[in-house]
């Protein structure tokens, strides 16, 4: 295992400490694994809390700041946070207008957030939760854990964050978060596995001519191991299930998000974005907004994911609204 770390046990806390030192105007660490916007709580503002396993940086702590999250609670690498963290974050950002939990749909995340929400309710804090489940690689079913939350999470955090920043109430922020969940679909591919520091070996290994399609963001294997293909073909294999699922149709305007998994450099992500843009144009779908970069990662995994969100005036306006976080900033 070759990583720029000290002891694996200290990785998450040391990394958060480094982040806080790098972003003193934006955020602070108020307890182990609890990162809070510097000016929290803001009276009368709905608080937005997200969290999940570490290893997906900049998600979530890199999205704490005006126009996006009020707090993030990162767990151990690829392990959901515990209720204590989530509760501490919820308390720290409650400004009296309630708190929205943005939860990626993994059994552990869902259960830990649920337990924290029960505890927060006992404190008299109004908590709602939205569960992001945008990964079309997983069959949706009432009888299973359902779909995973992946790239769409960033879009939910940005759009709900903009609404909360603008003063929307809890029901309205929740409604918008659900609208994003409803309209976003994702799928990912890995060209390499990744190594959980506490484990020291890659979670899976791929031969030189293989890729793993339909992966999640925790180093889990995907749905199929297939031959490595040129970027344009990879894009087709990711985009077609996404388009078919919602479905997206000719005439739709979308936000297209090409996400790097951590080890794939930007030069390749822009090749992927170009190919995606072409494919969408060929189906009469307009890319109205875009985002390209490593935002919802899986440690140093090589690969990418594609997320599409169907836009309308409301969502477009909230996407365009100013945001100032470590990893995403524009407008103001």
């Amino acid at each position: 295992m070759k990583k720029l770390i000290n002891r694996p046990e200290d990785l998450v806390e040391e990394s958060l400490a480094g982040l806080a030192l790098a972003q003193p105007d934006l955020l602070r660490v108020v307890a182990p694994g609890v990162v809070v916007r510097i000016d929290a709580p803001r009276r009368g503002k709905v608080g937005l809390v997200s969290g999940g396993g570490s290893g997906h940086e900049p998600l979530h702590a890199g999205f704490v700041g005006p126009g996006m999250l009020d707090a993030a609670c990162p767990g151990a690498v690829f392990t959901s946070p515990v209720p204590d963290q989530i509760l501490a974050a919820t308390r720290a950002v409650d400004g009296g207008a309630g708190v929205l939990h943005i939860v990626k749909n993994y059994t552990g995340d869902v259960m830990n957030f649920e337990m924290a929400a029960e505890l927060a309710a006992a404190d008299g804090i109004e908590v709602r939760a939205v569960t992001v489940a945008d990964d079309v690689a997983v069959q949706d079913s009432l009888y299973t854990a359902g779909r995973r939350g992946v790239g769409g999470t960033l879009l939910v955090e940005k759009i709900a964050g903009a609404a909360a920043e603008a003063g929307a109430d809890l029901a309205e922020v929740e409604r918008l978060a659900r609208r994003v969940c409803d309209g976003a679909r994702s799928m990912g591919v890995a060209l390499s596995g990744c190594t959980v520091p506490a484990v020291g070996r890659p979670t899976f290994e791929l031969a030189d001519d293989e890729m793993e399609i339909g992966i999640g963001i925790h180093g889990e294997p995907g749905r199929a191991r297939v031959p490595l293909a040129p970027a344009a073909e990879v894009v087709r294999q990711l985009a077609e299930p996404i388009l078919a699922d919602l479905p997206f149709r000719a005439g739709d305007g979308v936000l297209a998000f090409v996400n790097g998994m951590g080890g794939t450099p930007l030069i390749e992500l822009h090749v992927v974005f170009g190919a995606l843009h072409r494919l969408l144009a060929g189906r009469g779908i307009t890319v109205e907004r875009s985002l390209v970069g490593p935002y919802v990662t899986s440690l140093e995994m090589a690969g990418c994911s594609i997320t599409l969100l169907r836009l309308d005036d409301e969502l477009r306006r909230l996407w365009d609204a100013p945001v100032r976080t470590a990893a995403l900033r524009w407008g103001r």
């Binding site: 767990g75 151990a76 209720p83 204590d84 299973t144 979670t203």
Partner: protein, 228 residues
């Protein structure tokens, strides 16, 4: 902390008190520590390679708190509640809330008694299992820890009032059989479910750690079978 050797209180009418429960947890922690890499490897195949690491972290925290949790005045319920909260606060992932809820409900069913008999323990374990399945919205055959625990706890209740160590051994065997029975199945809960058909044929990490929990119980309560 009480240093009564495990099993010393058992005769024809065994009772389970704070020392036995503490011993159970300590043995569970030791078994998980020894199997940490195996559990993580199982999780790497169909999950995210952290089950061994997560549980081990949580159980080390539990072991560190046992002297305090088992201090004079402790009851089985207070001890197990402390164990539950420690697991919930330190394990994370799916198994933290699941094992945490298991111990929380078990604690809740034991009342204030300073020690309980086999029947009360079996009923408590059953309550814990129900809480776990509720928290996880889990059914049998979803291919989870529940598939090991459910037959084992059923065997325990059904076996009583036969010889205690016999019953405990049969419970472990039923748990292991449950774990193995679901290996060919497609997982329907937890991360393994994302793999769809590809999850079939892989042994479930949570069912594997659940069998360790049962082995630890056997070793703590049936001195004859205790390896140390």
């Amino acid at each position: 902390m009480t240093e009564t050797p495990a099993g010393a209180v058992f005769g024809a009418a065994p009772t389970v008190g704070v020392p036995e429960l503490a011993d159970w947890l300590r043995r569970f922690a030791a078994l998980v520590a020894a199997a940490k890499d195996e559990l993580t490897a199982l999780d790497a195949a169909i999950g995210d390679a952290d089950h061994g690491v997560n549980l081990d972290r949580g159980l080390q925290a539990v072991v560190a708190r046992l002297p305090e949790l088992g201090a004079p005045g402790a009851t089985p319920a207070s001890l197990l509640k402390g164990v539950a909260l420690t697991l919930i606060s330190t394990v994370g992932g799916a198994s933290g809330p699941l094992y945490g809820t298991f111990f929380l409900r078990l604690a809740g069913s034991l009342g204030d008694a300073p020690a309980v008999g086999p029947g009360e323990l079996a009923a408590g374990l059953r309550a814990g299992l129900d809480g776990m399945a509720e928290r996880g919205r889990t059914q049998l055959d979803d291919k989870t820890m529940v598939d090991a625990l459910a037959p084992a706890i059923a065997a325990l209740a059904a076996g009583l009032p036969a010889a205690w160590d016999e019953v405990l051994a049969r419970s472990v065997a039923a748990g292991a059989a449950g774990r193995d029975r679901v290996t060919p199945l497609v997982a329907r809960k937890g991360r393994a479910s994302y793999l769809g058909e590809r999850s079939a044929g892989h042994q479930d990490p949570g069912a594997t750690s659940a069998v360790l929990l049962l082995e630890a119980l056997r070793d703590a309560l049936a001195p004859a079978g205790a390896p140390g």
